[in-house]
C-alpha cells in the first residue's frame, strides 16, 4: 500500500505518466469552451428580465466554481503534504494557488460588471461578495507566504497551514446566500433540485463549467510538471530531458 502511495507521489513517475494526458486535456477544454462560448453568446435565449446581460453568467459561474474548487484542492494538497510529506502535493498546491487567484478575480470582475445593469451598483458589502473578496486575499496571502521564507520547506508548511485555516471560508461562501439577506441569487446548479432556468439556458452553462474544469486540469498538470523540472533540475533524468528537447 505505502509503496503505491510513494510511487504515485514520485515526481519522476508523475512527469512520465501525465505527459500523454496533456494533449487530450487541452483539446477537450478548447472544444468545450468554444461550444459553450458560441452557444451561450449567440444561441441561448435572452433572459425575460435581464435581457442579454444575463449572458455574463456563462463566464461568471464557471470562474466562481473553479475559484472554490481550486481552494479545496489547495486544502487537500496541504493535508497530503503535512501528514505524509509527499512533495508532489506541495508542487500541485504551488501552481494551483495563482490559478485560483485568477479565477477569483475573474468571478469578482464579471460579477461587478454584471451588477451595474442588474443591481444598479458594481459592489455591495453583502455576504457573498465579501466572502469572495476574502477568498482572493487568502489566495494572495498563500502565494506571498510561500515566497516569504528562504527555506522552501518552511514556506511550503506555512502556505499549507494557511490553506487549511482558510478552507473554513468555503462553506461560508456556499451558504452565504442562504444565511444572510443578499442581492445575490442562489446557486444555479444543485444535486437535489431541477435548475430554475430552462435547459436551453443551463446546458451551455454546464458545458462552460466542464470546459473550465478541463482547462484547470490541463493547466495545473502542465505547471506541476514545470515545477517538477524546477525542483529536480539537478537530477540526472531532468538533465537528460533538457538536453534531448533542445
Amino acid at each position: 500500500m505505502w509503496q503505491i502511495v510513494h510511487k504515485l507521489g514520485s515526481p519522476k513517475w508523475f512527469y512520465r505518466v501525465s505527459g500523454p494526458w496533456l494533449p487530450w486535456l487541452w483539446s477537450l477544454s478548447v472544444v468545450l469552451l468554444v461550444i459553450g462560448t458560441v452557444w451561450g453568446l449567440a444561441f441561448a435565449p435572452a433572459d425575460y428580465q435581464q435581457g442579454d446581460s444575463f449572458r455574463i453568467i456563462y463566464v461568471h459561474v464557471p470562474a466562481a466554481i473553479l475559484a472554490q474548487s481550486c481552494f479545496a484542492l489547495l486544502a487537500i494538497c496541504a493535508v497530503i503534504f503535512l501528514v505524509w510529506r509527499i512533495k508532489l502535493a506541495d508542487m500541485a498546491a504551488t501552481v494551483a494557488a495563482p490559478f485560483g487567484a485568477a479565477m477569483t478575480f475573474v468571478a469578482l470582475f464579471t460579477g461587478s460588471v454584471w451588477g451595474i445593469p442588474t443591481w444598479g451598483t458594481w459592489w455591495v458589502w453583502d455576504a457573498r461578495l465579501t466572502s469572495m473578496l476574502i477568498l482572493l486575499f487568502l489566495y494572495l496571502g498563500i502565494i506571498a507566504l510561500r515566497g516569504a521564507f528562504t527555506s522552501r520547506d518552511s514556506g511550503s508548511r506555512a502556505a499549507s497551514i494557511l490553506a487549511l485555516v482558510g478552507v473554513i471560508n468555503l462553506p461560508i461562501i456556499k451558504y452565504s446566500v442562504n444565511w444572510w439577506n443578499t442581492l445575490h441569487q442562489p446557486a444555479t446548479f444543485s444535486l437535489t433540485r431541477q435548475p430554475a432556468m430552462p435547459a436551453e439556458m443551463w446546458l451551455p452553462l454546464l458545458v462552460m463549467v466542464l470546459g473550465f474544469y478541463m482547462f484547470f486540469a490541463a493547466t495545473v498538470t502542465f505547471r506541476t510538471r514545470n515545477e517538477i523540472l524546477r525542483r529536480e533540475s539537478r537530477t540526472r533524468w531532468v538533465r537528460e530531458l533538457a538536453e534531448k528537447t533542445h
Partner: protein, 63 residues
Amino acid sequence: MSFESVSALLHMHGYAPYVWPAWGVALGALALLALHARYEKRQLLRDIERRIRRERVNHDTQA
C-alpha cells in the same frame, strides 16, 4: 440563433458594454494562464540546458 444579425449580436440589445468586457477578461485570463505555462516550460528547459553547458566548459578548462 437568438440574434437577427452579427451586428445585433455585437450590440447585445444595448448590453454590449457589460457582456463583452466580462467575457474579454474571463477568456483573456484563460489565454494568459495557458501562455504563461508554455513560456515557463520553455524558459526552464533553456536554463537547465544552459547550466549543463556551462558546467561542461568549466570541467574542460579545469582538466
